[in-house]
């Protein structure tokens, strides 16, 4: 496994596991999940494709898989799925905690 892939798996592990916890009910808003992550992947992944073409940044070859998609290592594209998911998880968890606190 590449070093970058390991970073993604660690980032995703806890949010993914906890998102099935009933009070958060992530699976219930599946279409919103697809819309939010899909739009982020398109817009910010698009920015990334442009940035790599313009040589704003690059990737250490031995830290990523060897093939490229639109000029990006696959990990970098997965980043735009994993991190938005983690953000939505964080947001929904904070909303849940706020509701709990308001009831006290």
């Amino acid at each position: 496994m590449s070093q970058y892939m390991a970073v993604l798996l660690v980032s995703l592990s806890l949010p993914l596991l906890l998102s099935f916890w009933p009070p958060l009910k992530f699976y219930r808003r599946f279409s919103a999940l697809i819309a939010a992550i899909g739009a982020t992947l398109l817009v910010f992944g698009g920015w990334d494709v442009f940035a790599v073409r313009r040589e704003h940044w690059s990737f250490r070859p031995d830290a990523v898989l060897s093939f490229r998609l639109l000029g990006l290592p696959p990990e970098e594209l997965l980043f735009f799925i994993v991190i938005p998911f983690c953000c939505l998880f964080t947001w929904e968890t904070l909303k849940y905690l706020q509701r709990k606190l308001e009831k006290v």
Binding site: V7, A32, A36, W47, R60, L88
Partner: protein, 95 residues
């Protein structure tokens, strides 16, 4: 001369509050959003800090300001801010 990454990061960061207004999501008026940014900031330091300090991602000095917080270019914070805000706006709008 302003560098390309700096310019793009500023444009996106300025566009997101406008998008929040147009979409009437009102995210940036919610105190909870700033708690969210704080939590994300912490995890960003971990993930982005690791990616940059390990040089998994390497930045072209000619394309950003050269200012870093630890190993992280300041532009990355604007990239992160605009990305997570954009994602939440679409999420709230789709709700």
């Amino acid at each position: 001369m302003i560098r390309e990454y700096t310019l793009l990061a500023l444009i996106f960061s300025a566009a997101v509050p406008v998008m929040d207004k147009i979409c009437r999501t009102g995210l940036m008026r919610k105190p909870l959003f700033y708690v969210f940014l704080g939590v994300i900031f912490f995890f960003k330091l971990l993930v982005n800090g690791y990616l940059t300090s390990q040089q998994i991602v390497v930045y072209n000095p000619a394309m950003f300001s050269g200012i870093r917080l630890g190993s992280i270019p300041v532009e990355d914070f604007l990239f992160g801010f605009s990305m997570v805000s954009f994602c939440l706006i679409v999420w709230e709008k789709s709700g």
